[in-house]
Structures are given as structure tokens and as C-alpha cells.
């Protein structure tokens, strides 16, 4: 069955640097991938969606790529700020478009 994997280890970077988070899937390419941000004690908040036929999507300081050859999506935050510290979740919609399946998330810590 399809699995989605994110690095469970926290990513620590310095303010101003670019943070890059990885999401890998195991089998078929999903129609699209979504990225969410989750702060402690809060529900996830949608950030970006990228379709299978799109290589890259941008929104302000955020950029998402989708490489169907590598079966991977990368999520970048440029000019990172301490306020970007949170857990970032990758998710794909199953083929029936009935449920969003999440990875475990990667915690990002941006130090001043």
C-alpha cells in the first residue's frame, strides 16, 4: 500500500537560511500532494498544494517541488524566521479523493 514518509528527526537551522523538508512516497504518484503547518496544540493549517504534472509551486517564501522520478516532494522556506518554527506535514489524497493521508511530520526549529 502507498506510504508517505517524512524525516522524523527535527530540523534545526539558523534564521535567514533556507529550510528544506522532504516527503517521500513509496508506490504510485498521487494526483497531488499537500503541505500543512501545525503548531503545538493547534490543528494543521493548509499551506500549499502541488499537482503531479507540476514541477514547482511558490507562495511568498514557500516553494514546493514534486519529482515523480524520485517519488519525492521537497518543501522549502527561504529567509527562514523563528516564527516559522512548527511541524510541517506532507499529505496525499488517495485515488478515490476521499481521504487525505498524512506523513508523521517534520519539526522545524529556526534559531535567531
Amino acid at each position: 500500500s502507498q506510504k508517505i514518509e517524512q524525516n522524523s528527526e527535527a530540523l534545526n537551522i539558523q534564521e535567514g537560511k533556507t529550510a528544506t523538508l522532504t516527503c517521500n512516497y513509496t508506490n504510485y504518484s498521487p494526483a497531488y500532494l499537500q503541505w500543512y503547518r501545525q503548531d503545538p496544540g493547534r490543528g494543521p493549517v493548509f499551506l500549499l498544494l502541488i499537482r503531479e504534472n507540476e514541477k514547482e509551486k511558490r507562495k511568498e517564501r514557500l516553494k514546493v517541488t514534486f519529482d515523480t522520478t524520485l517519488k519525492q516532494s521537497l518543501f522549502h522556506i527561504t529567509a527562514s524566521q523563528p516564527a516559522d518554527s512548527a511541524t510541517y506535514l506532507c499529505a496525499y489524497m488517495n485515488t478515490g479523493f476521499q481521504k487525505l493521508v498524512f506523513g508523521t511530520g517534520t519539526r522545524l526549529l529556526v534559531s535567531p
Binding site: 498544494l49 499529505a91 481521504k99
Partner: protein, 114 residues
């Protein structure tokens, strides 16, 4: 309200008790989802409603878990004979099925079973 509302925000109960968790989705959203999230894990799918009917309940762990959405709006997740392993944050989300599946989440109900 403007967002997805979940009540209670915190629930502490004893093993074996019955619990109800409520979700009030964004007005007009036809799809409603329940997820469960344990510490350090991503949200785990439980059940999905399209309107009043459960279109996919494959994530419900066993028959102690049940969810309803009688009028196609508010939903209640019901857990019978709670066990300590049921302790988690229960998240509700909604969306418009016309869009590409972006989910709008509530803040969750934290359930602790002692």
C-alpha cells in the same frame, strides 16, 4: 462561525466510560473528516462524511467507535467503553468537495482516558 469548531477542547474520562466529541464544520462545507493524532505522529484518518452519509469509515479502529452527521452539518464522534489507548487528539476537518481537497481543521479535542 468562521472556522471549524470542536467541543470539548479537553476531555478527561475513566476507562470504560462513554465519550462524545462534537464538530461544527464551516458553513456550506459538504465533506467532513475525523482524524486522530497521537503525540509525535501525523493525523490518522478515521472517517469521512459526504453530506449525511459516511462515505468511508475504513479508519475507525473497532466497533467501539462510531460517528454520525444526521443533518449534514454537525458531526459527533462517539467512543464506547473507552480504553487508555484511545487517548489522543481527535481532529475534525471540513472542505468543499468542489475544490482540490484542502482541508480546514479545527483545533481538536484532547481526550485523556485514565
Amino acid at each position: 462561525g468562521a472556522g471549524v469548531s470542536q467541543t470539548p477542547s479537553n476531555k478527561v474520562t475513566e476507562k470504560g466510560k462513554y465519550v462524545e466529541l462534537r464538530c461544527d464544520p464551516i458553513s456550506g462545507h459538504t465533506a467532513l473528516y475525523w482524524y486522530r493524532q497521537s503525540l509525535g505522529q501525523g493525523p490518522e484518518f478515521l472517517i469521512y462524511f459526504q453530506g449525511t452519509g459516511a462515505a468511508d469509515d475504513s479508519g475507525l479502529p473497532n466497533d467501539r467507535f462510531f460517528a454520525v452527521r444526521p443533518e449534514g452539518s454537525v458531526s459527533t464522534l462517539k467512543i464506547q467503553r473507552t480504553e487508555r489507548g484511545d487517548s489522543a487528539v481527535y481532529l475534525c476537518a471540513s472542505n468543499l468537495m468542489e475544490n482540490t481537497g484542502e482541508l480546514f481543521f479545527g483545533e481538536g479535542s484532547r481526550l485523556t482516558v485514565l
